[in-house]
């Protein structure tokens, strides 16, 4: 039998429907692959018993002809999603051995449709990071090897300090690495400033951050509530659309979840894009952008033009202010959201001489450096005397950023094409001594989309000279993810997939 982990979600669904293999066999193949890839550190918790029980139930429903749209499809879950009875940590020491007594809405919808849980995936602590290196469980290794590295050299580094191996992006680095390394057929992820799209770009996978309000945030560990959105990472555009169809939908338990109908996003694949107007924003041509990224961007535009789309230059004048404004808004919301980790109700408790000391010691030992710094920045910009100068000003600039997009869409643009990231994947520990702003620049092309609440799809557009994946980003109108899937499929058809050969 062929290696079932190499299949796409779509192929696996056809194979299950055609009775070429069972959901149990599919789950077993993935569990074996996960075990053999433990050194990549993509999974922080494996749930083989649950996976096999869910697969068995899926096989029974398949046999009865009652299959859901994802029946028997094994997926990984970012450890930011609360899973009932299964440890959920946000990759932070402060949650310790937290075991939720409830299930997040997004994951419950995936199980409703027959998906099978393989385990929980690594991520940057509380989704704060762009390399998965802030995780309390340690870094995740990108399944793509650095330029000119042999498999032997890769294996040796994997058994050692991992230095030189590449990061899978972040914060959804476990999700992107697991999909790229064939350790699941798709994964849940979350995106606050680029945490789905940047990891997808670094690993040759496809990820979408839906419109704000499309997916329920209920049961997802909160980082910055006005920016957080859940979405899938998958091997292909169609697989991504299939997962998204299950994950999306109104939820009364999230007051910001929008009550609009959820289309079958897969139906958008193969739809003609002839006559669509695609904007190329001049402000994304940033100083020092590698020629390879510039070339990739042009190639992406050519592919869409070849399919009949019209390419126009557009201007989004406030683009450069999105990242600094984000680094006020996101930490401000984080400082408030993370106030709940007090050592009293759940998670880690470090004893203190009084209640304040208990809070301070618990939070000092429970949070990592990046998280502490962001909480402190957020506390500062919200404090008396600084609120107007920082927070209020940032929220006004956010209004201007959103208006930039509204103006472009009002002028008849259907979607916007940009690079997903300013570079290919970098090395583990490479940024350790850089100041925090250098790491933040990873999100320069993606963060605008969160600030404006828009949908953004990242997909591979090609590779750099050393074979590392480079990603393109398509930005859409609010609630028009369908156009992004149609356009993405056109690019995927021409650019092809970018996959990593197994060396670990």
């Amino acid at each position: 039998m062929t290696d079932l982990t190499q299949l796409t979600l779509t192929e696996a669904r056809e194979g299950l429907a055609g009775k070429h293999f069972t959901a149990v066999e599919l789950a077993e193949a993935h569990l074996a692959a996960i075990e053999a890839a433990r050194a990549l550190n993509a999974y922080v918790l494996e749930t083989p018993e649950q996976a096999l029980a869910m697969a068995k139930a899926a096989d029974a429903r398949l046999a009865r002809g009652e299959a859901g749209r994802l029946e028997g499809i094994p997926i990984g879950v970012k450890d930011l999603f609360a899973t009932e009875g299964v440890r959920t940590t946000a990759s932070s020491r402060i949650l310790g051995n937290f075991v939720p007594t409830y299930e997040s809405t997004v994951t419950s919808q995936l199980w409703r449709d027959g998906a099978v849980m393989l385990g929980k995936l690594n991520n940057d602590e509380f989704a704060m990071g762009s390399s998965n290196e802030t995780s309390a469980f340690g870094p995740v290794v990108n399944p793509f090897l650095p330029a000119n590295w042999s498999a032997e050299k890769g294996k040796a580094a994997l058994g050692g300090d991992k230095k030189g191996l590449l990061v899978p992006g972040g914060s959804s680095g476990g999700s992107s690495a697991a999909v790229a390394a064939h350790l699941c057929l798709g994964a849940t992820a979350t995106d606050t400033g680029g945490s789905i799209r940047q990891p997808a770009a670094f690993t040759g996978t496809v990820g979408i951050k839906p419109t704000y309000g499309r997916c329920s945030r209920w049961g997802i560990v909160a980082f910055a509530s006005s920016l957080d959105q859940a979405g899938p990472i998958a091997k292909t555009v169609r697989d991504c659309a299939a997962l998204m169809t299950s994950m999306a939908g109104h939820d009364p338990k999230d007051s910001t979840s929008v009550d609009v109908a959820v289309p079958d996003f897969e139906a958008a694949i193969g739809r003609s894009v002839a006559g669509k107007t695609i904007g190329i924003p001049r402000e994304y041509r940033v100083e020092g952008m590698p020629a390879e990224i510039e070339a990739l961007w042009k190639k992406g535009a050519d592919m869409l033009r070849a399919a009949g789309a019209r390419i126009v230059d557009v201007s989004l004048p406030h683009t450069k202010y999105a990242l600094p404004a984000y680094y006020i808004v996101a930490p401000a919301e984080a400082s408030s959201n993370l106030a709940r980790y007090d050592g009293v109700r759940y998670g880690l408790r470090v004893p203190g001489k009084d209640i304040t000391d208990l809070y301070e010691q618990t939070r000092a030992q429970g949070f990592g450096r990046e998280v502490k710094r962001r909480i402190m920045i957020g506390t500062y910009v919200l404090s008396a005397g600084y609120y107007d100068a920082y927070y209020l000003r940032a929220q006004k600039i956010r209004t201007l950023i959103k208006k930039d997009f509204e103006d472009v869409y009002a002028a008849g643009v259907d979607a916007i094409l940009t690079p997903a990231t300013p570079s290919a994947a970098f090395g583990i520990a490479e940024m350790a001594d850089a100041d925090p702003v250098q790491m933040y620049l990873n999100d320069i092309f993606t963060v605008t989309v969160n600030m404006a609440g828009l949908p953004g799809l990242a997909l591979p557009g090609g590779t750099d000279a050393s074979g590392l994946p480079l990603g393109l980003q398509l930005i859409g109108r609010p609630f028009d993810e369908e156009t992004l899937f149609s356009l993405g499929a056109v690019i995927e058809d021409q650019a092809g997939r970018v996959t990593a050969a197994r060396w670990w």
């Binding site: 409830y102 009550d259 600094p324 007090d342 010691q361 502490k372």
Partner: protein
Amino acid sequence: MSVDAATVRRIARLSRIALPEQDVPVMQAEINAILGFVEQLGEVNVDGVEPMTSVTPMALKMRDDVVTDGEKAGKVTANAPQSEDHYFLVPKVVE
């Protein structure tokens, strides 16, 4: 704008994060790097611009003001580091 060491200590206190004295200079440098980066927002003319309150134009839904949840103290305290009879235990707060 930049912060001095005393301000860093004050923010740590407000954040309820114990910050050992030897960590203050590093945290101060990092916070100042970020504050330096966001300083460029001062260039933008924001006169007459409304601050964003909701990224999607929607009216928040209202529901009937009735109890919809509860009667699960066991579940609520299940993950508590210390609890007794469905109460969270903390160090003595009132003398």
